[in-house]
């Protein structure tokens, strides 16, 4: 299983006539998503904007986003995977067990209707949020969405896109991917990249107490991690770069104040559809940028004797 059938938000704006939001609440978390990219925009092949589009919201509770939807499907918590696989079966015309459908909170008629609408769409899209990817099933749920969309391409054009949160989290996936081959959770301890979520993911590393120093860049794990992870951050030398003195700064050995990304620091960030956009900062900060401070730390480390044979390949050259 793998591979994501996707496109840019511009294509969705111009073409999508069937839009599903699954496990997300764009009205409150991505407030301009409807108006700038999806629902209300008039597009080249959807000239009447909202009238030409159908929106479905799938979630475990009725959020303010439900008001924008034509169809709201309230599902039982933790049943996303079952629903997605049932939809895949229905799309292909397979028989499904109606008794197990009942456990999902939806009726077989509702699912049939959704599967039919998906197949009849001219251009469909499923946006999936953390309500899908962070609950029971986790990455298997994401994989099930990707599979469903991929298989719908036997009937019509269908794409998926994760609703990414924090500003440049997409950028970190992209930069890690093109420089190490993996999107996150990469160990370079042996001098070459290894990827293993669960082993090299932050929560696990901190809770197990595996790491013996931490450099925290524009994040505040001291406010969000499970307590054993926070305890470990306080035990080891932690270094924080942030525009503000954060909870993590208070338990860190070193805090360095940096300029705020996009407000007083220039650079590039990726939108959720993996389009890089330039920043246009309006202020001049009295503090250095993250980029400059990280580079200076790297240069200071590089002056020390090498711990292992040093590959020069990955150092940025400019």
């Amino acid at each position: 299983m793998g591979g994501k059938v996707t496109c840019t938000l511009g294509e969705i704006k111009n073409r999508a006539d069937f839009i599903v939001y699954w496990g997300g609440n764009p009205a409150e978390c991505h407030p301009r998503h409807f108006t700038k990219y999806t629902l209300t925009q008039k597009g080249k092949f959807v000239p009447n904007g909202r009238k030409d589009r159908t929106m479905v919201l799938v979630d475990i509770r009725e959020t303010p986003s439900a008001r924008a939807a034509d169809i709201f499907l309230q599902i039982k918590p933790g049943k996303d995977f079952e629903i997605l696989t049932t939809l895949r079966a229905l799309v292909k015309g397979h028989r499904v067990n109606e008794a197990s459908v009942a456990e999902t909170g939806l009726s077989i008629e509702q699912l049939r209707d959704l599967a039919d609408r998906m197949k009849q769409a001219r251009f469909g899209v499923i946006f999936f949020g953390m309500g899908l990817s962070m609950t029971r099933g986790k990455h298997m749920n994401s994989a099930a969405v990707l599979m469903l969309a991929a298989e719908l391409n036997a009937f019509t054009k269908f794409v998926t896109m994760p609703m990414r949160g924090h500003g440049n989290v997409t950028g970190s996936d992209m930069v890690m991917r093109w420089s190490t081959g993996y999107p996150f959770g990469v160990s370079l301890c042996r001098g070459y990249p290894r990827f293993n979520p669960g082993e090299f993911s932050t929560v696990d590393l901190l809770v197990r107490g595996d790491v013996d120093a931490a450099l925290v860049l524009g994040a505040d794990p001291g406010a969000t991690m499970p307590q054993p992870g926070i305890d470990h951050l306080a035990r080891i030398p932690t270094i924080v770069l942030d525009p503000k003195v954060t909870h993590t700064s208070r338990l860190a050995r070193v805090h360095i104040t940096t300029a705020a990304t996009g407000i007083s620091a220039p650079g590039t960030v990726y939108r959720m559809d993996e389009i890089p956009l330039p920043l246009r900062p309006a202020l001049v900060s009295p503090y250095p940028t993250d980029e400059e401070v990280i580079r200076r730390i790297r240069e200071a480390v590089a002056k020390k004797p090498a711990w292992a044979q040093r590959p020069a390949a990955m150092a940025p050259t400019n």
Partner: protein, 115 residues
């Protein structure tokens, strides 16, 4: 004082990364935003160019940037398995530097994606 007006500024608060924002700023603050949503507006107003914090803290005490950088480099160099974490609120250019530093220090690098 006349305001500095920036057209097509980019908001990095959420994954929409709207790049059609108009910002009106004086020397220290963004005083007006156009086209941003309420979250974006709060984000732009929440960060100023004022000197509100010491440039660096080492062991809880104000320190110079140079000292802080050297101390940070020492800690990362001495560690057997340092962790570089976060990355979602910094630029791609800074992320690239961070990966290079993680490689040099022989550490692990991870972002919010793993949560």
């Amino acid at each position: 004082m006349s305001l500095n007006i920036v057209q097509h500024a980019t908001c990095t608060f959420c994954g929409c990364v709207c790049d059609d924002i108009e910002l009106h700023a004086d020397a220290e603050k963004i005083v007006k935003t156009k086209h941003a949503c309420s979250l974006g507006e709060a984000w732009f107003r929440n960060h100023t160019a004022e000197r509100l914090y010491p440039e660096a803290l080492v062991d809880g005490q104000p320190a110079t940037l140079d000292t802080a950088i050297d101390t940070a480099a020492d800690h990362l160099y001495k560690a057997h398995m340092p962790l570089v974490y976060g990355l979602s609120n910094i630029t791609c250019e800074a992320q690239r530097e961070a990966i290079s530093l993680a490689e040099l220090a022989g550490g692990v690098i991870d972002s919010h994606t793993s949560l």
